[in-house]
Subunit: 267 residues, 2 copies
């Protein structure tokens, strides 16, 4: 289902409105002594804050008013069906561990998807005031030092590449070993960036982001932003990544192929 | 040698002037396609950028004009002797790996030391526009969302604590094992924050920062800011950390003692 220009503009307008609303809610509690819940079993620490829930509610309120026929998939409040063929995929705070630690690398993720995956996305960092946007012919960063186009960087082989991931653990032991096989051949590896790593790839600052154990709402906005900036995101086998699981994001097809061959050989 | 109130005010004024000058230089090249040199041997990747050198020169120019009798120890241009009994300890870009990756967690570090160690310090993050300041009776953050006092948080045992470090590798294999012995008993461990981790400790967001292989210019400003915010920084044996090496920064004496006992048992 193609989305016409008028609808694209309407979707962009609504997405920015949602991101603005989520900024207000996430910043209310950021760097305050909030109580973090623990929604998972005790083997895995995944805090969910009041800010997380309030930000998703604020975004859903915008959708209820402006896009009542679209479906929603949100981290906090699950799936809401719709009839337009479009789904909003929302992570109100991606990187809750970073959020509760006060780091400026968590983000609000907003994607619009059709039956084939994400077609538009926003990665917003409320504390810095940075918004990375991609889709509908646009790839742009608006931040504290102005606006600039997003674009991946070209021509780096793995030996010259910077690789990012959130956790040194990267999923299972086998997945970690596969990640390390790639990282060991890269020039530089950095950790702890949450969704900000994908934004840096779209901005041409790093070359690869490799993760595992993702949910759809963790990866759909990054896919839209990176693809709009000229990059490529798949799972570790080259298939679609928008349903979550393992993700391999690369600046170029050549680098993507080089990293994927190593991941495959190590699995 | 005590520093009188008039001198304290002059030192603060000069330090902010230096931080402002370093912001200009570091931001000129941040997120541009700069060429990173490699000043170390090929076993250890430590890029030094033109921005690093330009920022230190800009800070030294301020000192030459306003504090010509003070000594200087800078990462890029080494030691300059002085006769006042005070030394400026400068790291123009702490976290050069973060800087070249585009992350917002590197910083400009400025400390003033006497014969006993740092008495005043600034941790500045130019891209976000955040300045963490401590010493001379002041502990304060000025950032994009206004000013607020800095203060460590109280009352967390290690089992409830958040631990930060820059690299999962943390120095030697033995040092890494000791770090992991502490991290394994903490609630949450995060990586990749460079000097920003110390700032978050002073801001009451995290409880411990543990690092190794530091230089004096990496740790003196963090010591001043954290101590001013009510925290404690020593080496892993409880001795002074201001000459570099291993650092253990903690929000409270109890948490410091708990972590140090584990580090000592593991070494």
């Amino acid at each position: 289902m193609p989305v016409d220009q008028v609808t694209q503009n309407a979707l962009r307008h609504v997405a920015h409105h949602m991101a603005d609303a989520a900024r207000v809610e996430t910043l209310k509690h950021f760097r305050t002594s909030l109580a973090a819940d623990n929604k998972c079993d005790d083997s895995y620490f995944d805090p969910v804050t009041e800010a997380d829930r309030a930000a998703e509610r604020a975004m859903r309120d915008v959708l209820a008013e402006h896009r009542p026929d679209d479906a929603i998939l949100g981290e906090e409040y699950g799936a809401t069906s719709g009839e337009s063929g479009l789904t909003w995929v929302l992570d109100p705070i991606d990187g809750t561990r970073g959020y509760i630690s006060g780091t400026p690398t968590w983000g609000v993720l907003i994607a619009v998807s059709n039956e084939n995956g994400p077609i538009y996305g926003i990665i917003d960092q409320p504390y810095i005031g940075e918004r990375f946007e991609g889709g509908f012919g646009r790839a742009e960063l608006a931040g504290p030092h102005g606006q600039r186009p997003l674009g991946v960087r070209q021509g780096r082989a793995l030996s010259e590449a910077t690789v990012l991931t959130t956790f040194p653990e990267v999923g299972t032991a086998q997945e970690r070993a596969a990640f390390e096989a790639v990282a060991n051949r890269a020039r530089l590896t950095r950790y702890g960036m949450d969704c900000y790593g994908y934004a840096l790839l779209a901005a041409g600052q790093v070359d690869l982001v490799i993760e595992a154990g993702l949910n759809a709402y963790d990866i759909q906005a990054p896919i839209a932003v990176i693809e709009a900036a000229g990059g490529i995101v798949t799972d570790w086998s080259g298939g679609p990544a928008h349903n979550g699981g393992r993700a391999l994001a690369a600046a170029t097809p050549a680098l993507h192929a080089e990293a994927m061959a190593i991941l495959q050989a190590a699995l």
